[in-house]
Symmetry: C2
Subunit: 254 residues, 2 copies
C-alpha cells in the first residue's frame, strides 16, 4: 500500500517550532505535504480571504518535504491545498498545529489551527488539530509527538469520513501525562481585558489582553481532563444548530 498523503498546516506560521514537530511525526507514518501561513495567523478563526489575491511560495523549510508558504489564513491554506496543489490526489488525513497555546473549550471558535482542521473535515478529510498548553517557542513537544503518532495511526484506519478531533496536550513532562480522554467542549473562555493606551500622535488605541477564565469544570469537559493531567480529545463537528431549542423557539414562526 502507498504511504498515506498527510496535509500539515497550522496557524502560528510555517516557521513555528510546533509545525516542525508535527512534520517529524508524520514523516514516520506517511508522506507529509505542508501548506501553512507565511506569518503568524493566530486568532483568525474560520476567516477566508476574498478581497485580495493569495500567493503560494514553495519553500525548503523541512528536509525532503514538499512545502508551501501561503499568504492567507489557515483555512485558505487548506482550500488551496485541496483545490490547487493536490487537486488530483487524495489527501488521506489533515493535521494542524502543534499550536503554541490551548485550543480547549471555547478557544476552538477563535483558533486558526482548529478552523483549518475543520475546513479539511468539511471536505470529508479526517483531521486533527493539536495544541500544547505552552506558548513558549522553546516548548517541549515530546508528549505531543508521542501521542500524536498514536492518534494519527489510529485515525488513518477510521472508516468514517470527515472526523474532526480537537486535541489539547497539558504542559507536563511525558511521564506525568495520564493518557488520552474523549471529552466534550468545556465552557471556559477568555475574559477580555483591553489595554487602553495613547499612540505617539495622540490617538487612543485598544489592545486585546485577557485571562483564561476556567469556567465550569464539567466532569466530561476537556478543561477537566487537562486539569487532571490527561490529553483531551474533543470529537468536533460543524453543525451549529441548537436542536434542543428548536421546539422552544417555534413561537418565533409567523
Amino acid at each position: 500500500m502507498d504511504k498515506p498523503l498527510i496535509l500539515v498546516t497550522n496557524d502560528d506560521g510555517i516557521f513555528a517550532p510546533g509545525i516542525k514537530a508535527l512534520v517529524d511525526v508524520v514523516k514516520k507514518i506517511g508522506t507529509p505535504v505542508v501548506v501553512a501561513p507565511d506569518k503568524p495567523q493566530s486568532g483568525q478563526g474560520h476567516a477566508i480571504t476574498i478581497t485580495e489575491p493569495l500567493r503560494l511560495k514553495k519553500v525548503e523549510q523541512f528536509d525532503d518535504v514538499l512545502s508551501y508558504a501561503c499568504s492567507g489564513t489557515p483555512v485558505d491554506c487548506v482550500k488551496l491545498a485541496k483545490n490547487i496543489l493536490f487537486k488530483d490526489q487524495t489527501i488521506d488525513l489533515c493535521v494542524s498545529g502543534v499550536n503554541h497555546g490551548s485550543n480547549a473549550a471555547l478557544n476552538i471558535l477563535y483558533s486558526g489551527t482548529m478552523s483549518a482542521a475543520m475546513e479539511a473535515s468539511i471536505e470529508g478529510i479526517n483531521s486533527i488539530g493539536f495544541s500544547l498548553l505552552d506558548f513558549s517557542f522553546e516548548a517541549d513537544f515530546t508528549a505531543a509527538m508521542h501521542y500524536g503518532e498514536i492518534l494519527i495511526n489510529r485515525l488513518l484506519k477510521e472508516k468514517q469520513k470527515g472526523i474532526l478531533l480537537n486535541v489539547n496536550i497539558p504542559k507536563l513532562p511525558m511521564s506525568d501525562i495520564k493518557g488520552m480522554k474523549i471529552c466534550k467542549q468545556g465552557e471556559g473562555r477568555w475574559v477580555e481585558n483591553y489595554k487602553e493606551n495613547i499612540d505617539p500622535r495622540g490617538g487612543v488605541y485598544y489592545w486585546l489582553d485577557g485571562d483564561f477564565e476556567k469556567g465550569q469544570y464539567d466532569k466530561d469537559s476537556d478543561l477537566n481532563a487537562l486539569k487532571d493531567g490527561y490529553i483531551s480529545i474533543v470529537p468536533s463537528q460543524h453543525d451549529l444548530t441548537d436542536y434542543k431549542n428548536m421546539k422552544n423557539l417555534s413561537y418565533l414562526e409567523v
Copy 2:
C-alpha cells in the same frame, strides 16, 4: 420601562445599506447603538485581532444614533462594545447585518455577521444575525425590515439568555414570502473555483471564486425553507462537540 439597548453591528462595514435598514428597524423598538467595522469584513468568520491595536472612531452615520466605526473584525466590534463602550450598561439584544448575501447552511462558519452575533450570545446576550440573499447594494430590505421587527420584538421577551438566531431572507418581494420557519443548518456550501492569474510583475496569484452548491435539500433545512419562499431561522449555538461520535471514537483513548 426604559427602552431596550440594542447593539447593532455587521460585517459589510458601517457604510453598507444593510446596517442602515437594521438601525431603522431598531429605532422603532429601542435605543440602537452601533459598533461596526470601518471597512468590509466579509468572510472574517470568528477572527479576532490580537497582534495589532484596535481603534474606535465616533461617527455621525445615522441620525441621533451613537455610532462607532471600529478598525477590527466583527467579533472585535462586539468585544469592544461589551468591554469598553458599554461596559457599565446592559445590552438587551444584539442584531447583526442585514448582510448582503446568504449566511444559510455552512456559510455561518465563514460569516463575520454571524460570528459577531455568536460572540454576543456567548456573553449571554440574545442575538440575531440577518442576511438577505441579494449581494446588490441596491437590494430591497422591505421584507427583512418587516420580519426583523417581529423577531426583535419577540426575542426581547424571551426568558432564555444567549439565544442565537441565524435568519436568512429570500430575495423575493414581500408579498411572495410565505412566512418564517425554524430550521436546522443545511449542508450546502461554496465549492471553490480559484481563479489563477499572473500579476504585472510576473507572479502567480489565486483569487477565491466559487459557486454555491446547494447540497442536500433536507426537509427541515434552512436551504429548503429558503427555496420554498420562507425566511429561515436556525437557532444556533457554539458547542461544536460531536456528541454522537463520542462513544464510537472511544477506541482513540490510551
